[in-house]
């Protein structure tokens, strides 16, 4: 086999592994506290106090939740498909974590005499990898619901399948203009291209479409039809308990962080920003997105299913297509370097 037969520098491997470990730690901790933050913020919105009993200000609540989930019975419905039932939560959580590999979360730093990008893998098809992984995440929802052998779970997973592939389309299409502007699929290039001005300024329409689409991709209110506790008990994860339920849950919150990070990367200049270091800017933007998600959850009611499909196919997708055309015309008229 020709091609990549290069012995990698052991130092590089060490650094990459360290980065992976660090990112994993940060992401999981953040996801856990995002759950806590959501409960507190929702409580505030509803004039309640929220969990405030475990530790100071309830800060140890995620730990308590973890212990509870770990000690619960790991149950599989007798008529369910055991194998897929146990596989599904992992298929939901792992793509979400993997996606973070391509997100540049800070300015490159010099360490041990070499430039170290604050990014686990700087793929030149990074954006496509994101698309690929998000399309894989669909399987977790679909198989989990189907393997439960429960009508609520099956309905939830059917809804989830249709919703996720529908909104993936508008999400992908809304990203095309950014690629056209940055002239690269590489995420570090996209960030670099926004040095002069964030893409949200040039592409407000694409940003709006992307924002709505990632809300739907996260299955968050107002697009939480696959879970819809008022109609389907808990949707596709009705039959899950213990840590498997926890995996679905954590996957969802990691997804929020990852998609927030990607939104920042694609439209808000990634880690770029004045005065403060890049790391702070990036995480600040991610948390701002997370807060927005929670805020929206505390405000909006759930859509009806036909409204959801209408919005996806008849509003967002055509708008994204028109936006691509407009951008193409603009680029064509403005010449090779519009920015």
């Amino acid at each position: 086999m020709a091609g990549a037969d290069v012995i990698p520098d052991p130092m590089e491997i060490t650094l990459v592994i360290a980065k992976i470990g660090l990112v994993l730690l940060v992401i999981l901790t953040l996801a856990a506290y995002l759950v806590f933050a959501e409960r507190r913020i929702l409580a505030w919105i509803q004039d309640r106090k929220g969990p405030n009993r475990v530790g100071p200000f309830g800060l140890l609540q995620p730990l308590a939740d973890l212990i509870k989930l770990l000690t619960k019975e790991d149950f599989c419905p007798p008529a369910g498909d055991r194998w897929l039932f146990f596989l599904a939560p992992a298929m939901a959580a792992i793509p979400a974590i993997m996606t973070f590999a391509i997100v540049p979360f800070g300015a490159p730093v010099r360490i041990f005499g070499r430039d170290l990008p604050m990014q686990v893998a700087d793929l030149h098809v990074g954006l496509l990898l994101f698309m690929a992984l998000s399309s894989i995440a669909v399987y977790g929802v679909a198989l989990g619901g189907w393997a439960s052998n429960s009508k609520y779970a099956l309905l939830g997973s059917l809804r989830g399948l249709a919703q996720l592939i529908s909104y993936e389309l508008s999400m992908g299409l809304s990203l095309v203009p950014t690629v056209m502007l940055a002239r690269s699929f590489r995420l570090s290039d996209i960030v670099a291209a926004q040095e002069g001005g964030w893409f949200i300024l040039y592409q407000p329409m694409a940003f709006a479409i992307f924002l709505v689409s990632i809300l739907a991709e996260c299955k968050r209110i107002p697009f939480d039809l696959p879970e819809a506790e008022g109609e389907l008990v808990a949707g596709f994860h009705t039959e899950y308990s213990g840590m498997r339920f926890g995996l679905f849950f954590v996957g969802e919150y990691i997804n929020i962080l990852v998609l927030g990070g990607l939104a920042a990367t694609f439209f808000l200049g990634g880690w770029q920003g004045p005065l403060l270091p890049g790391l702070l800017w990036f995480w600040g933007k991610v948390l701002a997105f997370a807060f927005l998600f929670i805020w929206i959850r505390g405000t909006l009611p759930r859509l009806r299913y036909d409204q959801l499909m209408h919005l996806g196919w008849k509003v967002l997708t055509p708008m994204a297509l028109v936006n691509i055309l407009a951008t193409a015309w603009w680029l064509y008229l403005a010449g090779s370097s519009p920015l």
């Binding site: 086999m1 020709a2 091609g3 990549a4 037969d5 012995i7 498909d81 194998w83 897929l84 596989l87 793929l123 030149h124 098809v125 496509l128 990898l129 698309m131 690929a132 998000s134 399309s135 894989i136 669909v138 399987y139 679909a142 198989l143 189907w146 099956l154 997973s157 059917l158 399948l161 249709a162 592939i165 993936e168 690269s184 699929f185 196919w313 008849k314």
Partner: protein
Amino acid sequence: MAATLFYILATVMVIATILAITGRHPVHAIVYLVTSFFALAGIFYLLLAPLVAMFEVIIYAGAVMVLFMFVIMMLDLGHPERGGRPALGQWLPALLLGATVLATISYAAAGFAGDKLPAMLPGVKEFAVTLFSRYGVAIEVISLQLLFAVVGALYLGRRR
């Protein structure tokens, strides 16, 4: 290193494909097939064709198979896995076609065995330029076809 990875991926792919063919449960078969696609994408990546690898996953695993699954889950197919095994007569055409394909590939592989792969495969830009200039017309025809399909679907699904 790359060779090791290739053999691992190839083994996974072959086994998954065999399981997908012989599996009697459609949902299990889809899961095996998706696994096979993943392995294939990995092999493409090793062959320095990351674009193809990504499209493999996005289009085949992420779209086509999901639609398959959607249909299988929507239509209650009962329990086809409990049905009988296909008779030998039904296996024959598949075996025949399989043998033909295998022979062709062997012949082709033998023919190209000595050739060297180009040192660098074209990047995204070259790929795009080729696609939209040299094969531009074909692409447009195909996309028009897709547009018809979309319009047709909207027409069928319109509210009466």
